[in-house]
């Protein structure tokens, strides 16, 4: 359908009384189709009401234009009726007179009789017959807002604009009014734009949700499509599979905005000390057993030992938070899924290549594939069994959770499925869920299984909601799990800090690998600041037999490797394997300049320097092809032939990834 309302490159600048100016909105571009319901969401002061006012014509943009059906919006008009937050009813008129004032003025061409009818009809529509002759002062807030909505709709506007219409109402009234509004909009095919700060309201009512970033110079941070079918009922919407992912997406966005605001307020100047360029580091991690080296380095003082005495750990709930933190420049370094440095460098994040550096592999193993208990009862003990089940139940769609497109879990899960002839995109659907949310989603039945790092597989097994169907032993023993990632420009600007960071973490890895320390590390990790779960779920070594009791007979278990021969040294072959896998599934194009990318991402030199300075000269490493469980060998010499030889894959493309020349951080 063609564009009904177009907001084109709008800027809004308010002059300040002090003489300066405040840029409220910058470069807003939004096209609204006829009959669409759009929500504008963002924190207070982000300019969402200003945007609404400009669509209404109550305020004019400083730059750019708003058009309605191709006509320029220059002043307010009844074709763009507004429902104001504080109702804006005239208190000296009765409900009927308030509506009649609008109808008489806007539909003056109609005969009086018909206008009366319209007024009555709309009073009825919002169920206020009994209060039609009362002044607004005698009505409750909810009733007033119903009058305002009736008044707006009675003028038959082309576009309905709602400015936090239910913000001042109690929850019960709000719910009722939302359903009424939804019904009215569907019956009358109203095009509407609503400003709100209520996440649930936005998901319930909207076709699309426009998320605005914080001011100054707010812009559209993202647009969410709400694919929940209409007509919607509150209870159905809540149980729709998309509901929680949309909701968490919105909440993630709003939280992220709040954090950015806080970080903007914080001073971020580098503090140089002890011969290091920067000792105040913001270090991102996601709560998993695999974050042990970071937690240990902090708690046991390895950071301080190497001069980094102002490291603060930033606990992200999802890998996406890490990506935004690194891309936004407010994280100095982060624990990352092994594929993320390459993924970022090759332009996986918003198609913007962001050169990354990885010089330390912090963990290997510790991942597993968990399926819901019901599959176990149906006799699914392997990927082949799973394939059989999928073929037997063609009507059912199985949803599997993974944590990030670039994580090893995604790549291993897909590889595991594909090797058994299950197409991970067509035969099942994969969805991105934060690690800590997996067990809850499995319990709620919104997903049927997942591939994630510990402790979340163990926990599902212990709680009896799922069972471990495959561990690293069955897929790729000793695969890289988490790596240390920093931006390339950061590594260039702070080379000594980078080495110190690698040294601190490498020592922490060594500490983690010592079995004598395991109990202590378990205690550290179970704290709220880290994983925040019961100590029983955190296993660094082999778990005892009861934890995998769902699986008969008990299989061996590939526990985390933190330190040892060939564990920590970054490997180009491994990064290349991940690059081919991500290209295989269409997440990134396969870079024609893959050699350059590998060279820039995988910094063996930095690792060697750090290891040498620590006196760990005897760290050996494995060179040669990688072999996974299916026996297929991966040779670093010819990745494109390898890709071509794979049977289950997407149409991958080969393209040059343009990396900007190595720039230094400002």
């Amino acid at each position: 359908m063609s564009t009904f309302v177009a907001v084109d490159q709008i800027d809004k600048v308010f002059p300040l009384s002090g003489g300066g100016s405040y840029v409220a909105l910058k470069g807003i571009d939004l096209h609204i189709k006829k009959g669409e319901f759009i929500s504008l969401i963002g924190h207070s002061g982000c300019g969402k009401s200003t945007l609404l006012n400009m669509i209404a014509g109550l305020d004019l943009p400083t730059e750019g234009i708003v058009t309605l059906e191709g006509k320029l919006v220059k002043r307010p008009g009844p074709d763009r009726m507004v429902v104001f937050q504080n109702y804006s009813l005239l208190p000296w008129m009765s409900v009927r007179e308030n509506i009649a004032l609008a109808v008489d003025e806007v539909l003056a061409a109609l005969p009086k009789q018909e206008r009366r009818q319209i007024v009555e009809q709309h009073i009825q529509m919002v169920g206020l017959q009994h209060a039609a002759d009362k002044p607004p002062g005698q009505l409750s807030g909810g009733m007033k807002q119903r009058v305002a909505i009736a008044r707006a709709l009675a003028t038959r506007p082309k576009l309905l604009l709602l400015d936090e219409p239910f913000g001042a109402l109690d929850a019960l009234t709000r719910g009722n009014l939302q359903e009424q509004l939804m019904k009215i909009c569907e019956e009358n095919e109203v095009t509407a734009v609503m400003v709100t700060h209520d996440v649930d309201e936005a998901v319930l009512l909207s076709d699309r949700i426009v998320m605005l970033t914080n001011g100054p110079a707010s812009k559209i941070g993202g647009i969410l499509e709400v694919d929940i079918p209409r007509p919607r009922k509150r209870m159905d919407v809540v149980s729709h599979p998309s509901y929680y992912s949309l909701r968490s997406e919105l909440i993630y966005f709003l939280n992220q905005q709040k954090r950015i605001k806080k970080l903007r307020a914080k001073k971020t100047t580098a503090i140089a000390r002890h011969g290091l360029e920067k000792v105040n580091l913001e270090l991102g991690f996601v709560p998993l057993t695999a974050c042990a080296p970071i937690a240990v380095a902090k708690e046991k003082g390895f950071f301080a030992k190497h001069g980094l005495d102002e490291v603060s750990l930033v606990r992200e709930t999802s890998w996406r938070g890490v990506v935004d933190g690194i891309a936004g420049g407010y994280l100095d370094a982060a624990q990352m899924p092994a594929g993320m440095p390459v993924w970022l460098t090759a332009g996986g994040h918003q198609d913007q290549p962001l050169p990354m550096v990885s010089a330390l592999t912090m963990t290997r193993n510790g991942n597993a594939v968990t399926l819901a208990r019901k599959f176990y009862e149906q006799g699914v003990y392997s990927a082949t069994d799973f394939k059989r089940l999928i073929l037997e139940t063609p009507g059912q769609r199985h949803t599997l959770g993974m944590v990030h497109p670039s994580s090893m879990h995604n790549l291993l899960l897909r590889y595991w499925l594909a090797t058994s002839g299950i197409d991970p995109d067509h035969d099942v659907s994969l969805t991105t869920i934060p690690p800590a949310q997996m067990v809850a989603d499995l319990k709620a039945g919104t997903i049927d299984g997942y591939c994630v790092g510990e402790p979340w597989n163990l926990r599902a097994a212990v709680e009896g909601t799922g069972f471990t169907v495959a561990t690293d032993l069955e897929i790729w023993l000793g695969h890289p799990g988490k790596v240390l990632g920093v931006r390339e420009d950061w590594a260039i600007a702070y080379p000594n800090t980078h080495i110190a960071l690698i040294k601190a973490l490498l020592e922490a890895c060594q500490y983690c690998a010592d079995e004598a320390n395991h109990q202590e590390i378990q205690q550290i990790l179970s704290a709220k600041a880290y994983v925040g779960t019961s100590v029983d779920y955190i296993k660094l070594g082999d778990p005892n037999t009861q934890t995998c009791s769902l699986d008969q007979p008990m299989r061996e278990y590939a526990h985390h490797l933190f330190y040892g021969e060939g564990v920590n040294r970054p490997s180009r072959t491994e990064h290349l394997w991940m690059m081919t896998q991500m290209a295989r599934w269409g997440d990134i194009p396969f870079p024609r300049n893959w050699l350059e990318i590998l060279e820039r991402v995988c910094r063996v030199g930095a690792f060697s320097t750090a290891a040498r300075e620590l006196g760990m000269v005897d760290i050996k490493y494995h060179r040669g092809p990688i072999q996974l469980f299916d026996g297929a060998k991966f040779d670093a010499e010819d990745p494109i032939s390898y890709l071509n030889a794979l049977s289950v894959k997407r149409d991958f493309s080969v393209a040059e990834v343009m990396l900007d020349s190595r720039r230094t951080a400002a």
């Binding site: 209404a56 109550l58 002043r75 307010p76 008009g77 009844p78 763009r80 009726m81 507004v82 104001f84 504080n86 804006s88 005239l90 208190p91 000296w92 008129m93 004032l101 609008a102 003025e105 806007v106 002044p135 607004p136 002062g137 005698q138 003028t155």
Partner: protein
Amino acid sequence: MVANPGTRPTGSNFADFARTFWKKQGQNIMLPLIGVLVFLVVWQLLSSTGLTRLPGPLSLVTEQRTRELLLYPFYDLGGLDKGLFWQTMYSLGRVAKGYTAAAVVGIGLGILVGTNQTINKAVDPIFQFLRMIAPLAWVPISLIALQNVQQAAIFVIFITAVWPILINTTVGVQQIPQDYKNVARVLQISPRKYFFKVLIPSALPYIFTGLRIAIGLAWLAIIAAEIVMSGVIGIGFFIWNAYQNNYVSEVILAVFYIGAVGLLLDRAMAYLQRMILPEEQR
């Protein structure tokens, strides 16, 4: 307790009514009465002990002339010799004229100034300057300008009463909530309809505040004006005349009239305000 009026004698019914009325209103009536009584007694005592030469309140009845004025407010012997009711009415008539003119000009000008920021900036200092001038100071100016005692008196009323009306109306119009203006803008309401359906009703509480302040000021001003302008019928000149002839208790009587009329005028305005404004705007 269930009242059953059908089987009860009317007398007991009335007593019931009186009792409940007393319960509710007793404090409201008794306390002011006691206050007034104490005030009068103290005053009487002060004058009878000779601490002040001002006669006590009892002199209103004991003095022959004053008693006649008190008992016969409606007599009219022509000329300046009229009962106090007529004297008051003449003064009220002047107030009515001046006050009406002040209301018309004040509200009209107030709306103009309130809606137009430029005019407001231009005239605001003049208004603030003029409103500081005491009513008595206007008397010679108006006498010179108008050369007519009657008209001059009305002008003094006008110029005293117009400022609170003007300023309150201006504020009222400026304070029309942006929401109402936005509604009008979105609906594209015609200027005439905007004036009558939005502007006036919205500014009305302010206008009434202005009118209520102004009525008190107008009444104050007329007395002052009449005292200065000799030879007119009116309660102000009556006081002046009585003072000149040393009929002190007559002055006191007239003062009671003035106070009572002022109180009545204010109550009347308050009543009007309550009648016209809807509940949430009061």
